[in-house]
């Protein structure tokens, strides 16, 4: 269970307040106008922005001051999710050991993960030799190997076409269900939220609301959501 307790996040002078809980295995969309603080919320959970008050808890442990790599978090950014000079297999392998000293067993796990996302024979390719969708799959293979209980998506599929984006989101949802990881995804698109998220965190004017049931929220939107949806 992830809990932000009376937290105020500092993103270089922009502040976001959050007091909310995300249940284990839950799938939550983070929506709201641009500049409202959606990425700031995810960035703080991942450990990139400090809190000026409050704390972040994972279960019973306080992770407010933990380094990004020491948190129970795997994150996909808008871009730069793969190192361009490493092969797809190496990029995925970073999810197991960040020094890439993998033994045979671990290499087999990498192959397995690549197969799971549909990249069986492409382990030796460099990211530039893959299509946009395949690059997303490679990053997902790494996330799978990282095997963290919380997956954060900061619009990693924004550059893909609508059909491909939907395909990727479905894959993410399937993988999250398989591993039991909770999912937090920033989205501009309400259809994305309806598609895979059971709950929605609405971020407006420097405030992140606690998760609300997606269906109920869209059926009876509050004023801020009505303004955002137009």
């Amino acid at each position: 269970m992830l809990r932000l307790e009376n937290a105020r996040i500092d993103n270089g002078g922009f502040f976001l307040d959050a007091d909310l809980t995300v249940e284990p295995g839950q799938r939550v969309a983070v929506i709201g106008p641009s500049g409202a603080g959606k990425s700031t919320l995810l960035g703080a959970i991942a450990g990139f922005y400090p809190l000026t008050r409050g704390r972040i808890l994972w279960g019973d442990s306080d992770i407010t001051y933990a380094a990004p790599g020491k948190r129970p978090v795997a994150m996909l950014f808008q871009d730069g999710n793969l190192f361009p000079h490493l092969t797809v297999a190496q990029n995925a392998g970073l999810g197991i050991r960040s020094d890439l000293r993998l033994d045979a067993k671990q290499k087999a796990r990498v192959d397995e993960a690549l197969a799971r996302v549909g990249l069986h024979d492409l382990g030796d390719r460099k990211p530039a030799e893959l299509s946009g969708g395949q690059q997303s799959r490679a990053a997902l293979a790494r996330v799978l190997l990282q095997d963290r209980p919380l997956l954060l998506l900061d619009e990693p599929f924004a550059a893909l076409g609508p059909a491909l984006k939907a395909e990727m989101l479905d894959l993410v949802a399937t993988l999250a269900t398989e591993t039991g990881a909770a999912l937090l995804m920033v989205s501009h698109d309400p259809t994305d939220a309806r598609r895979i998220a059971r709950q929605v965190i609405l971020v407006t004017d420097g405030h992140a609301a606690p998760p609300a049931e997606t269906k109920a929220l869209f059926a009876n939107p509050p004023k801020a959501l009505r303004e955002y949806l137009g």
Binding site: N11, Y49, P50, A67, P68, H85, S98, K126
Partner: protein, 515 residues
């Protein structure tokens, strides 16, 4: 965006930066403590100061005045070989001074091609030694640099402006008044100051083409005070004067010039609708041809006479070749050991970058003199001639290496730091897995420059070496001083091949396996 945890270690860069600063400061302090200021400057010192300033000013003036029309011609004409020519304009940077001097002697010297041609018409021969020889050599080295920098200014004028000018039916003169003159007023002062600053610390050119009471630079005077009179008081006093001059000129150059890049994006030609007449085209073609001839003829001359001289090489040359190769390797390693950590630290704390500028503000001979004073009480300076030369060469190459490495290091950290942080990658792993492979081309290029600069350097080694030790450039100078010009030319050809070869090897090595 504020990333809290960056996977770059700061301390190795700080240690390297402190080492660099401490070395420079130790040398400068030794000089300052030793200087006998109450002696005052002798008349010959004043004449060295005067000559230094006059030759640097003339060199800057001629280089820039000639570079402007050449750059304009290159900016508005496209022709086969343009790219090669622009690349060649960068070559003097790695060309050993002594090789260029021998090339210039072969063309403009007493028995050179030019005087042979003059003789055919019954004209008296021209001499190359003295002020005009020094200025000629400096223009040979700095005309290409000035041309590249000014060409960059031209190419930074947006193509849309030329289109607008064409729409307004602007003549070539109008375009010049509207677009080109403002750009030149912005660019040229910086280039003038830069060339002036470079020529202030001229040593090897003054050593070979100058000399005597009328044509001695301060650097040369420091060397002479050291070697011939062993007058440390005078040498250090001159060093103080040189420090003041270089600092002043470097500050001036940094103040009025922007970032002098390594010519990225010089490849494209902006389409121009003015300057279409046949006369203008012919004029531009002639300018480009003349500039190319001025740069290539001395190189062709040294290659021609060098090939003949190869048969007359004394055994001392092969030993010097070996010494030079070792010094260049050592110097390159020292440079990388300093530049890499500093560059990565500078990606995090930009202030660290400025330590590299110390190398521009302190001249090699002053640094050498200071290190001599530091070493002299402890050990024999002659015994340490080669390591000190390698160290000084590395310190002189440091500002250039940092300028090559830092932008790319910064870019890589910006792009990949967050992902590395979520993967719990430590600084060591980030260095090994990300920075080193991603920066390979830049590291190769920087190493190549350092190797070539060190290979061709004739400076500190002349101050420290005893008659038994010599790098190849010093050995060439000794052959010249003994009037064994054929052997000197042969050795110069060897040095040219070694310098260019060292640069090529490193640069190619960096690009070859680049991801």
């Amino acid at each position: 965006m504020a990333v809290r945890a960056e996977p770059v270690a700061l301390w190795p860069g700080l240690v390297a930066a402190v080492l660099v600063a401490a070395t420079m400061l130790a040398a400068l302090t030794a000089v300052a403590l030793r200087a006998e200021t109450q002696l005052g400057l002798a008349p010959q010192d004043w004449s060295a100061i005067r000559f230094t300033v006059v030759q640097a000013a003339l060199s800057a003036l001629f280089s820039v005045a000639l570079a402007i029309p050449v750059a304009r011609a290159l900016a508005r004409r496209s022709f086969a070989g343009r790219g090669v020519l622009i690349t060649l304009l960068g070559a003097p940077f790695i060309l050993p001074v002594i090789v260029a001097v021998l090339g210039l002697l072969a063309v403009f010297g007493r028995g050179g091609w030019l005087n042979a041609a003059l003789g055919v018409f019954g004209l008296p021969p021209l001499g190359i030694y003295g002020l005009h020889g020094v200025v000629l050599a400096h223009v040979f080295f700095n005309l290409p640099l000035a041309t590249r920098l000014i060409l960059q200014g031209w190419q930074e004028i947006p193509a849309e402006r030329f289109r607008l000018a064409a729409q307004l039916a602007a003549s070539s003169r109008d375009v010049h008044r509207l677009l080109e003159r403002p750009m030149l007023l912005r660019t040229a002062p910086g280039v003038l100051a830069l060339v002036f600053a470079i020529c202030l610390t001229s040593f090897a050119v003054a050593l070979t083409l100058g000399g005597g009471p009328k044509a001695t630079t301060i650097e040369l005077a420091i060397y002479q005070a050291f070697r011939f009179d062993f007058d440390l008081g005078r040498a250090t006093l001159l060093s103080l004067v040189q420090i003041a001059l270089t600092l002043g000129a470097a500050t001036l150059a940094l103040g009025v010039s922007g970032q002098a890049g390594f010519g990225a994006g010089l490849g494209r030609v902006v389409q121009r609708w003015d300057a279409q007449g046949a006369v203008r085209k012919a004029l531009d073609a002639a300018l480009i041809l003349l500039a190319a001839l001025f740069l290539l003829t001395p190189l062709a001359a040294i290659t021609a006479s060098g090939l003949q001289g190869l048969a007359h090489l004394p055994s001392s040359v092969s030993k010097a070749c070996f010494v030079s190769a070792v010094v260049a390797c050592l110097s390159t390693l020292v440079l990388l050991a300093l530049a890499l950590p500093i560059a990565f630290a500078a990606a995090k704390v930009p202030l660290v970058e400025h330590v590299g500028l110390l190398g521009l503000a302190v001249s090699p001979l002053v640094l050498g003199a200071g290190l001599f004073l530091v070493i002299n009480p402890i050990a024999s300076p002659a015994g340490l001639a080669l390591p000190v030369t390698a160290l000084v060469n590395a310190l002189m190459a440091l500002p250039f290496a940092l300028r090559i490495l830092i932008p790319k290091a910064r870019e890589e950290v910006r792009l990949h730091a967050r992902l590395a942080a979520t993967l719990n990658m430590g600084a060591g792993q980030f260095f090994r897995l990300i920075l080193l492979p991603r920066l390979r081309p830049q590291i190769g290029f920087a190493a190549g420059l350092a190797a070539a600069l060190s290979m061709g350097d004739l400076g500190v080694i002349a101050l420290f070496a005893d008659p038994e030790t010599a790098t190849l450039p010093l050995q060439i100078y000794r052959l010249m001083a003994a009037y064994r010009m054929e052997a000197a030319a042969g050795a110069a050809l060897l040095l040219l091949v070694m310098s260019v070869g060292a640069f090529w090897l490193c640069d190619k090595g960096g690009r070859l396996a680049a991801p």
